[in-house]
């Protein structure tokens, strides 16, 4: 009887110790990705109450494609690759999106193709940015990334190659767009305030698969068009070349994005991501848009991508 009593008391304390590990939240507001609430011209509590979006159920079933065109303004073959990427995007409105990333496979993420001289009369613009260069570093080995122009289509590995020359981008895109196994869905909304020249991007991410995939979300800031110097295929210098869909960085400076789902996350789980963004000097909101994507952190494959205008 004594032994039983002892066992039960020990059992009780064990249970109690489990129960007492309750969570205490000192600050209920998410801090890890702080957003600049001053971009809202009013009380933040009012924003949360009145303007924070409520998304309806996302009924999309289509998988979109992200074409990452790794390019350089001194790369003479790059304009032709850019045309191919652009044509794919035009041919698949709302389904295929281009990000022209000025980066190269190296320890710095750049090569002579991206070099610039701010004091020179040409090629004085630095088209690179820290996040783009980080991709150059990340993918320099093991992904068939050896030069510009190369690119990925939703970073899907085909024939052991994530990066490939522009000749395969069309077929790769077609494969992605025909994929019926959508693993994650995205929907987003932007609230922009002219008085602060900034606003907030809210993204709902919904996992659609029970597969144990760890997923991150990334938001590219894309400059729609920029007229600037470019070495052309005939090696001439074109001062008025139109650089389209230029990647100018990530909204939160996180090249690898934010974690949205762990392997344990179940199908149907939803995560909301909140970002603040102030339009950089020299731009208007019409000059830019966001490309929002979710990728598999193990394979880097982009599982879904959407475009969000700033409005």
């Amino acid at each position: 009887m004594k032994a039983t009593f002892l066992v039960s008391i020990v059992l009780g304390f064990l249970m109690l110790s489990t129960f007492t590990n309750c969570d205490k939240v000192e600050n209920p507001y998410p801090e890890q990705y702080a957003i600049d609430t001053t971009l809202y011209p009013g009380l933040w509590a009012d924003y949360l109450s009145n303007e924070y979006p409520v998304f309806t159920q996302n009924t999309n079933t289509l998988r979109n494609a992200l074409i990452e065109d790794y390019t350089g303004h001194k790369c003479n073959n790059c304009p032709n690759a850019a045309i191919i990427a652009h044509d794919i995007e035009v041919a698949n409105p709302g389904r295929a999106f281009v990000a022209s990333i000025h980066a190269a496979p190296s320890a710095t993420g750049t090569s002579s193709f991206q070099s610039f001289d701010p004091t020179a009369s040409s090629f004085y613009t630095d088209h690179t940015n820290p996040e783009g260069r980080q991709y150059g570093i990340e993918f320099q080995n093991g992904f068939n990334f050896f030069a510009n122009p190369q690119g990925t289509v939703s970073r899907k590995i085909v024939d052991n190659k994530m990066f490939d020359l522009s000749g395969t981008w069309q077929s790769r895109t077609a494969t992605i767009l025909a994929d019926t196994d959508l693993k994650v869905n995205l929907q987003s909304e932007v609230n922009f305030y002219t008085s602060t020249n900034g606003g907030f991007l809210h993204v709902e991410v919904e996992k659609l698969t029970a597969d144990p995939i760890t997923m991150n979300a990334v938001v590219y800031v894309i400059e729609k068009s920029l007229i600037d110097w470019q070495v052309m295929p005939n090696n001439s210098y074109n001062e008025f070349y139109e650089h389209e869909s230029r990647h100018i960085g990530c909204i939160d400076n996180l090249a690898m994005g934010r974690s949205v789902f762990s392997q344990a996350s179940s199908s149907g789980e939803k995560v909301m991501l909140d970002y603040s963004y102030k339009i950089p000097a020299g731009y208007t909101k019409e000059d830019l848009h966001f490309l929002i994507y979710v990728y598999d952190t193990e394979t880097y494959e982009v599982l879904q991508v959407i475009k969000q205008e700033i409005q």
Binding site: S8, L11, C22, V25, P28
Partner: protein
């Protein structure tokens, strides 16, 4: 051949085993055939007839226990949540119990103390069933000690013939010590004392983008029950840690509550005093749940449970888990036989007073710009002047002859409709209700009982009393042929409604037949819409007109 032999032996053993033991259970079916009644806004459902049916079967044999409940909603009767549909297994369990241990796997119900932080129960009339699905261990390791551990998820719904359970996992522990069993001298001196402590926690994943939510929320409390001769005092005090939810507007305050009961009773006299103070004690296994769904804790009401038609159905009070300070007093006195007021058979007098107020929530000590979402400070029993409810009632019951007795009742209700939101009235509704009841025993088998009820609302805008739907009256006649037949006529009328078109009558005729443990009842008539409440928990029942047949059988 070998397999066949094994199979035969196996099933032979099963048959032998199950030929022992006992089987018990019950069956209940409620059928409704409803018709459209535009006067009261009652619609005939597309299926025209509705039915809920339940069958409980329990088996016990030498400590082993198992049971199932089949449920069918084809479709569900009026007032039940729409998500209840289909037929299937709604409840199943098996377990074993002896003097030391009681183990249950599957579905089970349980309650710790008054239920403030844990009560899993079924109230079929309300459509409420927050059964647990998991396991329970009840251990009596030592004389006077009872330990209980419950793990599981609560039932949320019954859809397409299957249970749907809560998103949160509920873990509950209770330890109860009966000191009388340790110190026998207490018993000799007419002292009774038991103490207990509970701990309940829930785990629900943080799925809210706006806030960092505590995923593990704990609630704990202690209670005691003391008695000395004819006096008793019991109390329970509980604390709930951070539990932002839809109920409390996602605040991060701790919750707390206390319930105290004290009483004294002797032959012909009894007094009971109760007090309750609740602050932020809505505790559910889904932080986004509402109404009566997925409640882990139960806030007992401090109101008298009324049975008369008007007082019970028109202005019922529902406990306010976000905060209330409530008191209740009951006095029962019997004037002795032969006394002036007692007469030949004695006279029973019952007085009851209950009231509930909003607690004071002090915000002045919360610093401006504080981001903790602790929105106020409060002290138990610190009540404001905002009244939620008040009920003063008196009942006198007197037997005049061997065959005839009467009961006189008066109720004075104040009901804050801004809080309870039962009707379209603004502010408070005050009503005077009088009931006269008489029962005459015609002979050994035949008796007749009648009630006459009147409800008059107060029209006093200066004191913020809204006349609401005006005056009501109800007449009831019930004829019983013991032990197996009963006939009732109920006639309710909203004769004093300020809107002439809404002066509606609600007649209902009821006939019932009883065969031992079997009962069949037919009721036909019109039912007004309103809140149907049991124990401070309410559900809305729409208006209806039609036939209701209920059948129950126990075995």
């Amino acid at each position: 051949m070998r397999i066949s032999l094994v199979t035969v032996v196996f099933f032979g053993c099963i048959q032998f085993y199950f030929s022992q033991g006992s089987i018990s259970g019950n069956i209940e079916t409620i059928y409704q055939y409803l018709v459209t009644d535009t006067l009261i806004g009652a619609d005939q459902p597309a299926e025209k007839s509705l039915v809920n049916s339940y069958a409980n079967i329990n088996y016990r044999n030498q400590g082993f226990k198992a049971g199932v409940r089949m449920e069918a909603y084809m479709p569900h009767i009026l007032g039940y949540p729409d998500r209840f549909d289909g037929a299937g297994l709604g409840y199943r369990y098996f377990g074993y119990e002896n003097e030391l241990v009681d183990v249950t796997f599957g579905n089970f119900y349980d309650q710790f103390g008054s239920g403030l932080i844990f009560r899993s129960y079924e109230d079929r009339a309300l459509g409420l069933d927050n059964m647990m699905n998991g396991f329970r261990v009840k251990l009596k390791p030592f004389k006077g000690v009872v330990l209980r551990v419950n793990y599981g998820r609560q039932r949320f719904s019954f859809s397409e013939g299957s249970n749907i359970y809560s998103p949160a996992l509920v873990r509950a522990l209770d330890a109860e010590f009966n000191l009388n069993e340790w110190f026998p001298k207490m018993e000799e001196k007419n002292v009774r004392l038991s103490v207990a402590g509970s701990f309940v926690s829930k785990y629900q994943k943080d799925n809210n983008p706006k806030f960092i939510l505590p995923e593990n929320t704990g609630s704990y409390g202690g209670r005691f029950d003391f008695g000395y001769k004819k006096f008793f005092l019991n109390a329970e005090y509980v604390i709930k840690e951070q539990d932002p939810s839809q109920d409390n507007g996602y605040i991060y305050n701790y919750g707390k509550g206390i319930l105290i009961n004290a009483g004294y009773s002797q032959k012909g006299f009894g007094v009971l005093l109760s007090a309750k103070s609740i602050d932020n004690m809505s505790f559910r296994s889904d932080r986004d749940a509402a109404l009566q769904d997925l409640q882990i804790g139960f806030i007992p009401p401090l109101t008298k449970t009324h049975t008369y038609n008007l007082v019970a159905t028109l202005y019922p009070y529902a406990s306010q888990p976000n905060g209330e300070v409530a008191f209740q007093g009951d006095i029962f006195y019997k004037f002795k036989r032969g006394s002036y007021l007692g007469g030949k058979y004695g006279t029973d007098l019952a007085l009851n007073y209950s009231t509930a107020y909003a607690p004071i929530q002090n915000t002045s000590s919360i610093p401006a710009g504080d981001s903790s979402r602790v929105m106020y400070n409060s002290t138990l029993f610190d009540k404001s002047s905002l009244i939620y409810w008040r009920d003063i009632n008196v009942t006198v019951e007197k037997k005049f002859t061997k065959n005839f007795k009467m009961k006189w009742n008066y109720f004075n209700l104040v009901f804050n409709n801004d809080i309870i939101k039962l009707t379209s009235a603004n502010g408070k509704v005050q009503s005077h209700i009088a009931v006269i009841e008489g029962e005459y025993k015609i002979n050994k088998k035949h008796s007749i009982r009648a009630e006459l009820q009147g409800l008059w609302t107060v029209d006093d805008y200066i004191n913020n009393f809204d006349p609401d739907r005006g005056n009501w009256a109800t007449a009831v006649v019930e004829y019983t042929v013991s032990p197996d037949w009963y006939f009732s006529l109920v006639f309710q009328s909203n004769y004093g409604n300020p809107v002439e078109a809404d002066r509606i009558n609600y007649p209902i005729a009821i006939i019932g037949k009883i065969w031992g443990a079997t009962r069949l009842q037919l009721a036909y008539g019109r039912q007004n819409e309103g809140l149907f409440c049991v124990g401070g928990v309410c559900r809305f029942v729409p208006a209806s007109n039609g036939l209701t047949v209920s059948f129950t059988h126990s075995f």
